[in-house]
Each structure stands twice: as C-alpha cells, then as structure tokens.
C-alpha cells in the first residue's frame, strides 16, 4: 500500500516538475495565431490566389527573421489560411470558425467587396481585430470598431481622376467647360465611383455630367448604352467596370468609332488581360490604381526586387496591398505589445506605418477603419508602355491629352 502511495507521489512529483519546466518553455514557443480567409478558388480565384501568395510571403518574411517582438518576447506567426471558394456565406462561416474555434488573435480579411461585406459582420461578435486588404467599398466600414481596411475608398479613386483632369485643364491641355458621359456598373463599387465624380463636378463648375447611366454586370450588348453615350456628345468618357465588361464595352466603343478627349474605365486599363484582349484599343486610356511598381519610393523598389526574386515576376497592385495588410497588422501587434484583442485593435486604430509601400508612403486608418491614401493615375502608351501621370511628384511620363484620334 505504502509502495503504491510512494509511486503515486513520485508520479505526481515528476508531473509537477514537468509542468513547472514546460510552462515557461511553452510560453516562449507559443505562436501568434493569425487567421485568413481568401477566395483561392472560384470566380475571385485569380486575385484571391495572389492575395494568398503575398500573405504567405509576408508571414514567411517575419518568421524567417525570428518572429515578432511582442512585449519583449519573440513570437512566430502561425497562419491558418482558409479558402472560401468565392462564396459569401462560406466566407462568413470560415471567419466565424477561425474566431470561435481556432481562437485566432486576429483575422486577415478576403478579397472582393461582396465577400468582405459578408465577413465583416463577424468580428464584432467575438471582439477580434480584422484587417481586410481587398475591399474599397465605403459601406463596409464604420459599422464595427473591429473592422479595418487597407484599400482606399473608390470615391477617392474617382476624385483623384478628377484632380488629374483638372490639372490637365490648368495646363491648357484640355479646354473647359468639359462635359462628362458617366457610366457605372450597378454595384457598390460603381456607385462609389459615381458619387466621387458627381460630387467633384458639383464643386467644380468647369465639369458637368451630361449622361449618368448604370449597367448590369456582364451585359450582353453595350450598343444601346453606347448609342446614348454618342448622343450625349460629351468631351470625357468615364466608366467604372469589371474587367470583362471593360473588354466588351471598349471593343464595341472602338467598333462604333466613338471618340472622347479622355477615356477611363476606373481602375481598368493597364491590366495585362485587358491589353491582351484589346491591343491598341487601350492606348491612352487612363486608370487609377491602389499601387504601381513604378512608384518612386525606395521601399517600393526594395519590395519589387525581393518579390521578383521570390516569385519570379513583377508584383501587381494586389500583391502590394495584401503584403501591406499583413505588415500593418503585425506592426499593430508589436505596438500593442500583447496579444490582447482590445490592445491590438487600439494599436491598429492609432497606427502610422511610415515606411509603407502604398501611395503617400504612410498607412493609417480613419475613424471608420478604412485607410484613405492617394491613388496613382496611370496612362497607357503605345507598345504596352504605361506611365504614372499623377500625382505630379510620382510622374514617370507626361500625360497625353487630348487622346489622339484614330
């Protein structure tokens, strides 16, 4: 009996010792659990996969450097990246799963306003910080203090383009007054673009919107709509469209022999797929973007070089925004000095990432949680060349305005 008791005591002592020694060791090795839900497959898979690649790249970079400094302790990142198959309801479920079951410390959101909109209702339920790098629709932000977004509002995309056009007027390249034919896709993205253009035109009498129409995504025939554009006799053609609609519409526009002094399709124009589908018909179209590898910042050059070395190709805007999403979250965790969700959230709300690769060079969030950064305006030139034409300080070439005919 005594033997059994002594054996039990011995076992308990060993267990206590093991626990005593393993405790601090476990704490030292404990990782920061970061969740991410992205559309790796399905209709958003092209950019979703790019977001995955850039997210993993950013995490690997930190882990290879020994992890993050959290309150004096080096901690590595344990990334749980899930595929929502571009399905909004699945996307929401997976964010919930990460927060409720896997107890992640923070979540990196998806790509596409519709998916991010679905995800963005979850963080408030669990009080977990959430940062999205792939949604610019303003309606997503300002409803929850836990939701942050790196993409600037689409409204600003439009107002940046209007600033660029105003500058062309100031330079005497375009003659005022200028009439705008405005077409938008019937989405949140399109409505934000419309608001940006119309608000600007209201405040600047040299511009007037003479046609304001919307169209459904993937419309089968743009001729009736472009007939109205022709009848409006506008000077400028401004449209906000998805890549597929941009290609179809610009083909019809070209076949109909339409001409405007300046043409934009919002963020579309410089895309490789668009230029491949339209050839010379994309020349001189101007577009706004969240990033360009032509930005003349040393940190952009450094990022571009290391991305090329790792991925074997030049980074696109979505690689850069995904990378910065991870970086800003990690900077906030370091600033918080703890893994407490409220501390991370507060750090995100007050953060200023001063070596950001995004336009302006400083990434910070507004009261709604959405970053408001300048956009770059690019203009396509013949033979596949692209120049940054706005802002002035980042110019790589002169804007050609008005566009040459034919």
């Amino acid at each position: 009996m005594t033997g059994i008791r002594s054996n039990r005591s011995f076992a308990l002592s060993v267990l206590s010792l093991a626990l005593a020694f393993s405790g601090p060791a476990a704490a030292q090795e404990a990782a920061i659990r970061i969740g991410a839900v992205l559309p790796v497959t399905g209709k958003e898979s092209k950019i979703g996969s790019a977001y995955k690649q850039a997210t993993e790249f950013a995490v690997k970079e930190v882990n290879d450097a020994g992890g993050l400094d959290v309150g004096g302790k080096r901690m590595k990142i344990d990334l749980a990246l899930l595929d929502d198959t571009s399905d909004a309801s699945r996307s929401e479920q997976l964010v919930e799963q990460l927060m409720a079951q896997q107890k992640v410390h923070a979540v990196i959101g998806g790509y596409g306003s519709q998916l991010v909109q679905a995800q963005s209702v979850v963080p408030d339920r669990y009080g977990i910080p959430y940062v999205s790098g792939g949604a610019g629709a303003t309606s997503i932000y300002g409803r929850s203090k836990w939701v942050f977004g790196v993409l600037s509002p689409v409204e600003n995309l439009a107002s940046t383009q209007m600033d660029f056009l105003s500058d062309l007027v100031a330079q005497g390249k375009l003659k005022k007054p200028l009439k705008i034919a405005l077409l938008i896709e019937n989405t949140e993205h399109g409505k934000d673009f419309q608001k940006g253009v119309k608000d600007y035109a209201k405040a600047h009498p040299e511009f007037s919107v003479v046609l304001d129409e919307s169209f459904e995504l993937y419309a089968p025939d743009f001729k009736p709509l472009l007939g109205r554009v022709a009848a409006a006799k506008a000077d400028l053609f401004m449209c906000d469209a998805h890549l597929e609609d941009f290609i179809s519409m610009q083909r019809t526009y070209t076949q109909m022999g339409l001409y405007h002094q300046m043409v934009t399709y919002g963020a579309r124009g410089a895309d490789e797929a668009g230029r491949k589908a339209l050839g010379a018909a994309t020349d001189y179209i101007f577009a706004s973007g969240w990033w360009s590898d032509l930005l003349p910042y040393p940190q952009v050059k450094a990022f571009t070089a290391k991305w090329k070395a790792a991925a074997g190709s030049a980074p696109q805007w979505y690689h850069a925004t995904a990378y910065e999403t991870v970086r800003v979250l990690f900077a906030a965790i370091q600033k918080a000095g703890s893994l407490n969700p409220e501390a991370i959230r507060a750090a995100l709300a007050g953060i200023e990432l001063k070596d950001s690769i995004l336009p302006g060079g400083v990434l910070k969030f507004t009261k709604t949680g959405q970053a408001v950064l300048p956009f770059v305006v690019t203009q396509n030139k013949p033979d596949g060349k692209v120049d940054i034409v706005w802002p002035k300080e980042a110019r790589t070439g002169e804007a050609v305005a008005p566009m040459p005919k034919g």
């Binding site: 497959t41 399905g42 209709k43 958003e44 898979s45 092209k46 019937n186 129409e213 919307s214 169209f215 459904e216 995504l217 993937y218 419309a219 089968p220 025939d221 001729k223 009736p224 709509l225 007939g227 109205r228 890549l243 597929e244 290609i247 179809s248 083909r251 019809t252 070209t254 076949q255 109909m256 022999g257 797929a273 491949k276 589908a277 339209l278 050839g279 018909a281």
Partner: protein
C-alpha cells in the same frame, strides 16, 4: 431616319446573338421537356474550347466551329446516354430531378473549367476583332456580322433538317406527341439522344460565337441563360423560327427603349422579364400562338 436605321440594324445583330444562345435550349426542351440548366456551362465550355484551339493551334474562332460542333454533339449524346436518360419521365412538364441534375452538371463544368483554365479572364483578339464596316450607314462590328451570319445559317440548317429529313420529322413527331411517335415506330430514345446532342452542339456553337465578342471566365454564360429563357418562351418553346422571331422582338424592344425613351439601360434585364411575364399571361404559346390565332380568325 438614321436613328431608325441604327435601331433596326442593331436589333437584327443582337437578335442573331440572342437566337444563337437559345436554339439549343429550344431543341432540347421541345423533344424532351427538359430545361437544360447546364446550357450556360456548355456555352462557357464552347468558348474555352475555341480559345484553346485559337491559342494553341492558331485556328480562327469561326473556323473552329467545324471542330466544336461535332465534339459537342458527341459530348451531348454521351451525357444523354450516361446521365440524362436515367431521369424519370414526368409527362409534359420538366421534372425537378432534371433541373437538379443539369444544375449539378453546370457546377461540375464550371469547376472543371477552373481546374483546366483557372479563373483568369480570357479573350480572343483576332485581326478583325476591333474592325467595323458600314451597313446602311451604320457602323457594324465585323465579329457581330459573323455571329449574325452564323446564326442565320444555323436557322436555315435547323429548318432544313427539321422539315426535309426523316430525322427532322422524327424529332418533330416526338416533340408533338412522344407516345404517338413511339406507336408509329419512331425510336424515341434514339431521337432524344440526337436532340440532346444537337442542343449541346448548338450551345457549344453559341459559346464559340460569344467568345468572338466577349471576355470570359468559368462563370461565363449566366446572364445569357436568363435571356435565352425569355426568348424561348416568347418563341413558343418548341419552334426554331419562333426562337429567331422571339430574339428579334426582344432585341428590338431593348434597342427602341434605349433610343427613344429615357428608361435606363440598366433595366434591360427587367424589360426581358416583364416581356416573359406578359407573354406567359397573354400569349402562353408565344409568337407562334399569335399566328395560329390570326389563322383561326381568318378562317372563322
């Protein structure tokens, strides 16, 4: 006057496109009373097949029709033999099983396309893609003219097959009364297989033609499918000529609305569905019902 010409020419061209999308759906529905929900997926596959032939073998999209049509006919017959024929028959109305099955086939095709071609937006740029010609003073895109020509040719071929060959007569017999056709010695199962093959071949052809006009992803075809439903209801569900007429009525309505009214063009789809509802309520047999009514009135 020029605006009226614009409207008429553009309506004809759009009708050519719409009719091409709807022929296959009408043939399958007519013979088998099945609404082929996989139609959009087959059109998408047709577009990708054309894209592959263009990028890998430099075959012009319009020439690729000689490969696409037989290939998709064989695929359609195979799909019928392996899957569709196992569906329980439900008389003159489409069964829930057929809707679910073909919806499933659509999802499989979509995912197959994601695996084979990824989700990237693809398109075909030929030497004539951006070219246009003047027709009655209206600038018309060369690909649109090609699509219209192929659509008209398809209508002629279908009409010839349906009215001048034994196969066509058998198809029409099964369309009108399957049981009576069986009693007359028509192999209804074989005819159904051929009809499914023809419908699939036309969907593939539509995909080829659409690829000359639009960029596409594996999700391609969804919006076209809805429009095709409106057209076959308007065209009378079983009549190929009716489909062409239905396509023209819809295209004309869209173009007239855009040219002469202030109705936003974003309401084009709403316009299609309004037309669908009105047709179902006022003229359930579609446009052929209107001509039958006129015929009866003349006689009586």
């Amino acid at each position: 006057m020029q605006q009226a010409l614009d409207v008429v020419v553009n309506s004809f061209l759009a009708a050519g496109l719409y009719a091409t999308m709807a022929y296959g759906l009408a043939v399958i529905y007519g013979v088998m009373r099945i609404i082929n929900l996989a139609h959009a997926g087959i059109m998408m596959l047709g577009a990708y097949t054309t894209f592959t032939l263009f990028t890998h073998f430099s075959i012009d999209p319009f020439l690729s029709i000689v490969v696409v049509v037989p290939l998709f006919f064989a695929g359609g017959v195979a799909l019928y033999r392996t899957v569709v024929r196992r569906l329980p028959r439900s008389g003159s109305t489409p069964s829930m099983e057929s809707l679910l099955l073909l919806f499933g086939v659509w999802l499989v095709l979509q995912n197959l396309a994601y695996v084979l071609w990824s989700g990237d937006t693809q398109s075909i740029l030929t030497s004539y893609t951006l070219k246009s010609v003047s027709l009655l003073g209206v600038r018309v895109g060369v690909p649109s003219l090609g699509v219209f020509g192929m659509s008209a040719l398809s209508l002629l071929v279908l009409e010839f097959v349906l009215h001048r060959t034994y196969l066509g007569k058998a198809i029409r017999a099964v369309t009108q009364n399957r049981d009576a056709a069986l009693l007359s010695g028509v192999d209804a199962d074989r005819i159904s297989a051929v009809a499914f093959g023809v419908g699939t071949a036309f969907a593939g052809l539509a995909g080829t033609l659409l690829s000359t006009l639009f960029a596409f992803t594996p999700d391609f075809g969804r919006s076209f499918l809805l429009k095709a439903f409106c057209i076959i209801v308007l065209g009378g569900l079983e009549s190929v000529t009716g489909v062409a007429a239905g396509a023209f009525v819809l295209a004309l309505l869209e173009n007239v609305t855009a040219a002469y009214t202030a109705v936003p063009t974003s309401l084009q789809d709403a316009l299609s569905f309004t037309l669908l509802v009105v047709t179902l309520v006022v003229l359930p047999q579609g446009l052929p019902g209107l001509s039958r009514l006129a015929h009866v009135r003349r006689r009586g």
